[in-house]
């Protein structure tokens, strides 16, 4: 197998990048998920926006920027949604990056706030889930998917991830038990999260005994599609303090698209190109991180994020998993909401789930899922399996700004 290192394996040093000074990320909002919804995406996104406004204690007109992510909003885009919701923002973005949307929305919104293009930006993601939504979304996901993947069994993401999981397990030494340990830990976490759709404990044996869906992917390796919405606000720290809102600060972010196109199959994500830039810019090291929220559409992607974000070396993920505990009170608190695997995957909101949970952790509002003394958290996103691989990756290092008690 050829694994020629690309010239761009590592990104150029990010010395000239500006920081995110003065930016506050605040008001984590979740519209409770349901397995199936008869509502449309507009309802879910509208509910998220309303909750953000209510949570911030501001008037609707004070939100002058909106950033939207949704798969099921069609035929509307963010533009049509604004008329639908009666909004007249001076700044609007639509981010079709699935699981990377939460991080990427932050990057866009933070810069807009810093530049003064908008003062209060509502970042919202939501999708409905009709009984046939998932099939429709999958069959029309992209041109390459339509041309070169869907006709091959129409397995959807399960099939694509099965292939790269198969490859990854054979070449990088992760076993089903390793993946199972992560899933079991996430379920433990989810049992403390009232929003999680999965309410029953999961044992490793149950994980291992589950029925195969698309070898080597079994039932508990798959997320459950559902309806839901997530949101947060981006504004200046000054504004957040004036509104007495607990908030988090942004230490660093990265994003990357179509990384490593020459890899014959995906065994790493774009983080591997940008992780040094991420941590250097933030001035922290992986060891300083108190918790990690990854995009977990499948356990294999969690394993890749451990490696590619630098929590362990490539090929050493099995040892890393075996050496750590991933529950909220474990040695490596991970996907503390339960992640999509245990909360549910509400379409594009799945790309916000980890981000919103990280905000809760850093503002001290995570309730029973709270990681004690959480000060630095990493959120990573991964989205848009286009042909045979996920194309968008992103990550953010957030730090505690003002917690609930401090802000009040």
């Amino acid at each position: 197998m050829s694994m020629v290192a690309s010239a761009a394996t590592r990104a150029a040093p990010a010395g000239k990048r500006r920081g995110y000074d003065g930016v506050a990320v605040t008001v984590p909002v979740t519209i409770p998920y349901v397995r199936y919804s008869t509502r449309s995406a507009h309802w879910w996104l509208g509910r998220a926006l309303a909750e953000l406004i209510r949570g911030a204690g501001i008037a609707k007109g004070e939100v002058d920027g909106v950033c939207v992510s949704s798969f099921t909003l069609g035929p509307d885009t963010a533009v049509g949604l604004m008329q639908h919701l009666g909004m007249s923002p001076r700044w609007l973005d639509h981010i079709p990056m699935g699981g990377a949307s939460g991080v990427v929305a932050l990057r866009r919104a933070a810069r807009a706030v810093q530049a003064g293009d908008a003062e209060v930006i509502a970042c919202i993601a939501g999708d409905t889930n009709h009984v046939d939504s998932f099939r429709n979304t999958v069959s029309q996901f992209s041109r390459f998917a339509q041309d070169a993947v869907y006709p091959y069994g129409a397995g959807g993401p399960n099939a694509s991830f099965a292939l790269l999981t198969d490859y990854y397990m054979k070449h990088y030494g992760a076993s089903r038990e390793d993946f199972g340990k992560l899933c079991v830990a996430q379920r433990d976490n989810a049992l403390k999260n009232p929003h999680a759709l999965m309410k029953k404990p999961l044992t490793l044996q149950q994980y291992l005994d589950a029925r195969p869906i698309t070898d080597p992917i079994h039932l508990f390796d798959c997320v459950m599609p559902c309806a839901g919405a997530e949101g947060y606000l981006v504004m200046s720290e000054e504004r957040a303090r004036a509104l007495k809102l607990p908030y988090a600060r942004v230490r660093s972010t990265i994003e990357r698209h179509n990384a490593f196109p020459e890899d014959p199959i995906q065994f790493r994500g774009g983080w591997a190109m940008d992780k040094d830039a991420l941590f250097d810019h933030a001035g922290v090291a992986p060891a300083d991180v108190d918790f990690l929220e990854t995009y977990d559409d499948y356990p294999v992607i969690n394993a890749m994020q451990f490696e590619d974000l630098g929590f362990c070396a490539k090929g050493e993920v099995a040892g890393f998993i075996r050496a750590n505990e991933f529950t909220i009170d474990g040695s490596f608190p991970f996907n503390t909401s339960g992640g999509q695997l245990s909360v549910g995957q509400a379409g594009a909101a799945g790309g916000y789930l980890g981000f919103v949970q990280a905000l809760r952790q850093l503002t001290g509002s995570a309730g029973r899922t709270q990681v004690k003394d959480a000060k630095i958290g990493v959120v990573s996103g991964f989205g848009m399996i286009n042909y045979d691989r996920g194309l968008c990756s992103g990550a953010a290092i957030l730090e505690r700004g003002a917690t609930q008690g401090e802000a009040a």
Binding site: D147, G153, G155, I213, D215, P216, I217
Partner: protein
């Protein structure tokens, strides 16, 4: 090793016949380049004229250097099977009915990685041959096949879905008494057909070779069929329409004559009656039944074969009326293809050069032996292609038509 296909049992007449479903149809226009290659039975991908990159999935421009000069060219079809999975769940009705289904990722020697259907005899990590086939929807898909042929390879259910193998199927040869018809019948029997119905439009005529053939194999059954007679076609369809899984339209009316050297249009009409309206009558009578049985077990109705001529593409003025009838039949076959595609029944057109039979007596060699034509038809069905060009003359004219169709027109008219 692939389990050999077992001869299908007699149908349980009180069970509902499974209706045809199709694998996903939509493709971008670029991706239809694969469909063209698959229909012709060649393995081609986009190759950048400027930087030589072989790319997949098909794109509008070169994904490497952004050149717009990407052309479809034959490329090395070998690759390494680097990952596989077996689907036990699918979002699509067609695949749901056919689970489990094996797919995999092949790293091609030519460069790109492709997702392909994977033959059960392919080992992960091993070398595979990629082939482009038309699936039941009539669109191209990649199949990864073992590096070398394995026993009963074509019997693998997945591959059988993309092919029209005569094995264990029942075939109607519409004119079984012609040299070509008899040869096709023989070839179908050799290929393992369960039954061959031999159409006979002239039961009053004794043809010793035909009688000898019919006596040679109990799988042969003579049926009265005159494609110029709507009633005859309808009666036969009412009798055996539910059994025909492959229809090979061998009926032909070949006579010399152009336009000005004839005083009438009778010959042309007779040719149209057989070659064009005959095809249409057959289609109207047998098409619906074949569509109904297009997903009926391992011996489902799969293919409609028209024996046209290379002169369907370029008239031979010495046989102007006949050439016109073949061109009309080609056109009709395209409509038929569109109409049968909804059920997944394939229309395969065969374009032979001159065939060595009585009406080609004065045609100089090379001529295709009827047995050679029949063999090409069977191979086309086994490969699952849409267009089959048979013989050196057909191949040469096909190439030359692409190069300069006016030159072909001038020279055929000399």
């Amino acid at each position: 090793m692939t389990e050999p296909l077992v001869k299908p049992k007699k149908k349980n007449p009180v069970l509902r016949t499974r209706l045809a479903t199709l694998p996903p149809v939509p493709r971008s226009r670029s991706a239809l380049g694969l469909t063209r290659a698959a229909a012709e039975g060649v393995f081609e991908m986009q190759v950048c004229a400027d930087c030589g990159t072989v790319q997949y999935p098909p794109r509008e421009v070169c994904g490497s250097c952004l050149s717009e000069h990407v052309a479809w060219k034959p490329v090395d079809n070998r690759g390494e099977l680097i990952a596989t999975t077996t689907l036990r769940h699918s979002n699509d009705l067609y695949f749901r009915e056919r689970l489990p289904w094996r797919v995999g990722t092949v790293k091609m020697a030519a460069g790109p990685s492709v997702v392909a259907h994977v033959h059960e005899d392919c080992a992960e990590g091993g070398t595979v041959r990629l082939t482009l086939k038309l699936d039941r929807s009539g669109q191209a898909v990649l199949h990864a096949l073992p590096e070398k042929d394995t026993p009963n390879m074509n019997d693998a259910p997945q591959l059988r879905e993309s092919t029209c193998d005569p094995k264990f199927r029942r075939v109607l040869v519409t004119d079984g008494k012609s040299a070509t018809g008899m040869a096709v019948a023989r070839a179908m029997l050799e290929a393992g057909a369960n039954a061959v119905f031999l159409g006979d439009a002239s039961t009053w005529k004794t043809v010793p070779a035909f009688d000898k053939l019919v006596a040679s194999d109990p799988r042969l059954q003579v049926v009265e069929l005159d494609v110029t007679d709507t009633d005859s076609v309808d009666r036969l369809a009412a009798s055996i329409g539910g059994k025909v899984e492959i229809l090979v339209n061998t009926a032909d009316y070949l006579r010399d004559g152009g336009i000005l050297n004839r005083k009438d249009v009778n010959l042309a009409r007779d040719a149209m009656e057989v070659n064009v309206l005959g095809l249409m009558r057959l289609a109207q009578a047998f098409g619906p039944g074949m569509c109904f049985r297009a997903a009926d077990g391992s011996n489902n109705a799969v293919a409609w074969v028209n024996i046209l001529s290379i002169h369907a593409h370029a008239a031979l003025p010495a046989r102007g009326a006949w050439s016109a009838s073949k061109a009309a039949a080609l056109s009709l076959s395209q409509t038929l293809r569109a109409e049968l595609r909804g059920a997944g029944v394939r229309v395969m057109n065969v374009f032979p050069g001159p065939v060595d039979e009585e009406w080609e007596q004065l045609t100089p060699p090379p001529k295709i032996a009827p047995s050679g034509l029949a063999k090409a038809i069977v191979k086309g069905l086994q490969d699952g292609v849409e267009d089959v060009y048979v013989g050196d003359i057909a191949e040469e004219l096909r190439t030359r038509l692409r190069e300069n169709h006016k030159a072909v027109e001038r020279e055929l008219g000399q």
